[in-house]
Amino acid sequence: MSRELTISLSPHEKGNLSVEKIMWSVVIALIPALTASVYFYGIHALRVVVLGMLFCIALEYLIQKFVLKTKVTAFDGSAAVTGLLLAFNVPSSIPWWQLLIGSAAAIGVAKMAFGGLGKNPFNPALVGRAFMLASFPVQMNTWPAPLRKIWESGADALTSATPLGILKEGVRDGTPIADLADKMPSYFDMFIGNMGGCIGEVSAFAILAGGIYLLSRKIISFHIPLFYLLSLAGFTGLFWLFNPVKYADPLFHILAGGAMLGAWFMATDMVTCPMSIKGQVIFAISGGILCGAIRLFGSYPEGCSYSILVMNAFVPLIDKYFKPKRFGKEVDNGK
């Protein structure tokens, strides 16, 4: 009997998936969206993203090291993803100290206060964003125009409203949708991201590319993004069919605002979405409807982040009642 023998339980074989791999894959998947926003908004977008990541990693490190005094796992990539997503959810003109406060809310309140990675009930990046939106409404609703528009106009700086903002204001004033069209970017511009908005959410195309990367690596499943966007489109489409003068069409709703970013990267956050496929579908469909409802009837122009936060709260309940299909239960062998 030699001392170095180890006793442990099967399995003795281990797959090569790890938390780090998952998290850094998400970071890689967000690079196209980052590239697009740097292209449209310039170096400011990069500044905000780098700061966001730095703040989140540093805060997680400090909290783990000095407050909780636990093992430091700040570099496993999860803080980087939170920082990245938080930065993606703010305008590129945000002052650094507001971003720091947002990061503190995201990491400190939403994540570490609950016990760190895996224990947070709400998506930390969205909590950070909600906190900033409530605290700094002016800065959070000032959208720098894409660089090209600024060059074209010859001004030093220019702000432009988001398509959803234009829509909300227009509808409030009673302007028919058709008349708003000249203020709006074209669908193609919206698809590639040539419009005002938060850093990460502008380019549907880049987000789609990142999402497909995640799908191909099997980090996420297609259920949440697909059903979220479908239910958003279905809900808004219903009203559009009923009254196209007052309501915008579903394609607009999918491309505008944070719906794409939310569906692909926020709602699919593993920690805060349901576990079973059935649960995920319920989660996504309810989230999509909520988002549509906030956009059409709420006072905020954008409802995506709130819809996901609200649905996060339902996840334990969904997990309790929507179980995966058990093998050998409710069997029908054709008898």
Binding site: T6, S10, P11, E13, K14, V19, G118, M270
Partner: protein, 446 residues
């Protein structure tokens, strides 16, 4: 061509079938054998010999008297040294009969010729009795007494229509079944005919994973001569060798939770069992030998060996003329997914032993455990549709009532969840603990 497989869950561990091309070598009987009284599921056998008795190879030394139990025969000729406790796979000491070998004298009734005996003369009941008498158990790993599978369920009209033969060998590394299929194909097919007669079925299917193309080809060619026999290649996916998954893959029948294969009209046996049945029924030879794989990346040579039951595992290394490699950190009895880590190489080979695997320090050490990130990978790979992350938490908190309502007893401990978990959590460790407790609670309730 689209190959069949089971529907939910499953993983793809690296196959590492290092010893697949190496022919089976028969090892000489060891100096001493230690035959555990409990080599099978169910009640331990009761010794019928005492210290000092002389026995021949194949002599009955312990009788399986309970309904689920199996006879045990001497695998060598010699003197019964003692009936004592020896360390078995679990690390705890279990009762065993120790026999000192003297010569190699077989019981006269055993037909030791290599000649194929394809002539089935016995009636179904006689075959079942023979299987019982010869102490045949499932050689796939669980070691369930085989004759029980052929008896009709008490008070139930369920009747088998299909015999399923498991040639999947989905565990990585192990190649014993593969080699048996290649080298003993005629005997296996004859054994299957015996089993079809015993089970009164007209249809038999052998399921083989597509990574054993040579075995599929060989058996398909020979199977044409047997009416009702079919060879079905299957897509490689772990744990396809589990009976519920295999029946789902082959016949698309789903065994209800807590039920037996017979409830979906199936009898399922391992390919090695088919060979053992052939030898028992046609050659009168009890289950005293089996094929075992000795493998590991750190070994210079690996191999498949036919050994006597009760031999210490160390004779496999001796046969390879190898020492235990210096970096060995784990000795695993069985495959890497479901095998048990044992604490030395002296443990006796029993009816359920399919192989030994050596892992070095780098392969063996588990990685550091992190928080569950709720990635749901464990749910997506669980072949039983359970929620391993939840069961782990419940078992850790010893909330066994909740474990029971979450169907913890359906877990077959395949290890897919722990294999996949990106946070390296001890999912199966806790689930197994919870399952053991829930089973005990359920037994107590009855």
């Amino acid at each position: 061509m689209k190959l069949n497989t089971f529907k939910i869950g499953g993983v793809h561990p690296p196959e590492n079938k290092i010893s697949a091309a190496l022919p089976i070598k028969t090892l000489p009987p060891p100096k001493q054998v230690r035959l555990l009284l409990s080599q099978h599921l169910g009640q331990p056998a009761v010794p019928v010999v005492k210290k000092g008795d002389r026995v021949k190879v194949g002599a009955l030394i312990a009788g399986g008297e309970a309904f689920i139990s199996a006879n045990i025969h001497s695998s060598v000729s010699g003197t019964v040294l003692k009936i004592d406790n020896v360390i078995d796979v679990s690390g705890y000491r279990k009762e065993a009969i120790v026999i000192q070998r003297e010569g190699d004298e077989w019981e006269d009734s055993i037909d030791r010729s290599e000649e194929l005996n394809n002539d089935i003369t016995l009636a179904p009941e006689e075959i079942i009795d023979k299987i019982k008498e010869m102490g045949i158990v499932g050689l796939g790993g669980a070691a369930f007494p085989s004759h029980v599978k052929y008896l009709p369920l008490p008070g139930d009209a369920a009747k088998a229509d299909t015999l399923v033969i498991n040639g999947v060998e989905c565990e990585p590394y192990l190649t014993a079944d593969h080699r048996v299929m290649l080298e003993k194909s005629d005997e296996i097919l004859s054994g299957i005919r015996v089993m079809m007669k015993a089970g009164r079925v007209d249809r038999a299917i052998i399921g083989i994973e597509a990574n054993k193309a040579d075995a599929i080809e060989l058996l398909s060619g020979k199977a044409r001569a047997i009416p009702g026999l079919e060879i079905v290649p299957l897509k490689v996916k772990y744990p396809q060798g589990a009976e519920k998954q295999l029946i789902k893959a082959l016949l698309n029948r789903e065994i209800p939770s807590g039920k037996l294969p017979l409830d979906v009209s199936c009898i399922i046996n391992n390919i090695g069992t088919a060979l053992a049945v052939y030898e028992a029924v046609q050659k009168n030879k009890p289950l005293i030998e089996r094929v075992v794989t000795m493998t590991g990346k750190s070994l210079k040579k690996t191999g498949n060996f036919k050994v006597r039951m009760g031999s210490p595992a160390s004779i496999l290394l001796e046969a390879l003329q190898e020492e235990l490699p210096p970096g060995t950190a784990r000795i695993i009895c069985g495959g890497p997914m479901m095998g048990k880590a044992v604490n030395n190489l002296e443990i006796p080979i029993s009816k359920g032993t399919s192989g030994f695997l050596l892992l070095d320090e780098r392969e063996a050490r588990r990685k550091e455990t992190k928080n569950c990130i709720r990635c749901a990978k464990c749910i997506s790979v669980c072949p039983m549709g359970l929620e391993p992350y939840l069961l782990e938490k419940l078992a850790e908190r010893r909330n066994f009532e909740a474990c029971e309502t979450e169907d913890i007893v359906d877990c077959m401990e395949c290890g897919s969840c722990s294999f996949t978990c990106p946070s390296n959590r001890f999912l199966l460790d806790y689930i197994r603990y919870g399952k053991t407790n829930v089973m005990r609670i359920m037994r107590d309730r009855r």
